[in-house]
Amino acid sequence: MSSTNDPFSQLLYPMLREQPSVDASVITQLSRAPLQKSAESNALRHQLFDASADQIVSCARAISTAVAGGGRVLACGNGGSATSAADIVSELLRPSGAGPAIGALSLTADIAVVTAIGNDVSYDDVFVRQLLALGRSGDVVLAISTSGNSENLVRAVREARRLRMLTVGIAGHDGGRMRADGVVDHLFIVPSTSVHRIQEVQTTLYHLLFELVQQHLMEVPTCA
């Protein structure tokens, strides 16, 4: 980038200077943060899996049974959680490992549908409306939230249970409204107040959960 260091470029684009404008001491301080933050996520990973490993295994088994019976995975979330939902849907449809392709849909993928429902009815109904149209009994609804409080997710999983779909919630903080009795069949909570750390551990959770599902679906049926 030598061309950007001439005085003219510096005048036009002062942000192109090679040295950051903060002191080296600030950089040194900042460089301590990544290991601390990573350790925080790792502690949460241990906390979640120590407390919930059995439930994760039984949830994976229930999802495998639903998928083996023809169910699809319908995933939803808001903001960063919407991208998490899209991420796991893509991993299921086009696995990075040896697993089989599994039918899955992200309920935020269709911007025409999301904005139509949001505009005509309410943003609170963007997922439940799609479930009524696309969902079938035996499907799996995966609701991802850092708070557990999103009205549109709570409405979606309530209706999904009524329609005899399997419901799985992934939440943070204290689980929020998803924690109430009867809202979801399986709930996993990453007990943190940091949205970033919650999302990092939630990603580990849904990766491992669905890797188990893929493994279950590849099992050769035994005589057991």
Partner: protein, 210 residues
């Protein structure tokens, strides 16, 4: 006739061991990776803060899982989760499905991000690319185009040996499980966001005191 059968209890034990190993793999990989990149990450965040301070836009791109990561990364800048953090300009180049599929179905699919960068970016902007392999043609071409346009270039790569990428800052995860690598990249761009805002606040206070 003897048949080897896995009982339900044995199957559960296998699954529990898989989860235990999965968590252990992530913790070990994270400790090693973040120790190695901490200084680079802080320097990158400081450089990003400088560019944002001067009005830059962050343009993010990547294919497959990198496409959802690009969207995740850009929404964090536009709509910050922490109160008091200012909204910053960011665009994911994986959102516009008409443009993306149009280019992928055309004569030069590897131009998918480079084309959008030529149309949307300005000198001084920031490009952040996800590469599932160091040979990811579309992201590589995007980075080269960004560099030609005097943008700050950041590569989050995995798969294969890290080759010299056309980027100012490269964060390469050397792990054979792409899901683990993706998780470490998620934490990487989260931390870049967090540290960038710390520097911006620091600079804001310093400028106000002048």
């Amino acid at each position: 006739m003897m048949m080897v059968m896995k009982s339900a209890a044995e199957a559960v034990d296998v699954d529990l061991a898989f989860l235990r190993d999965g968590v252990a793999a992530r913790c070990a990989a994270g400790d090693e990776y973040f120790a190695a990149i901490a200084q680079e990450l802080a320097g990158c965040a400081a450089a990003m803060a400088d560019r944002f301070f001067a009005g830059a836009t962050l343009l993010v791109f990547g294919s497959g899982a990198g496409a959802t990561d690009a969207q995740h990364n850009s929404v964090e800048y536009v709509h910050p989760v922490l109160p008091g953090c200012r909204a910053l300009a960011a665009l994911s180049l994986t959102n516009d499905v008409s443009t993306v599929t149009g280019i992928l179905g055309g004569p030069d699919p590897l131009d998918v991000y480079a084309h959008q960068l030529r149309a949307l970016s300005r000198p001084g902007d920031i490009a952040l690319a996800f590469l599932a392999s160091p040979h990811d043609g579309a992201s590589l071409r995007g980075l080269r185009t960004a560099r030609e346009r005097e943008m700050l270039t950041i590569a989050l790569s995995t798969g294969g040996t890290p080759s010299e990428l056309p980027a100012t800052h490269t964060f390469h995860v050397d792990h054979d499980d792409p899901l683990v690598a993706q998780e470490l990249h998620l934490a990487t761009y989260h931390m870049l966001w967090e540290l960038t805002h710390i520097v911006l606040n620091h600079r804001g206070i310093a400028e106000a005191r002048r």
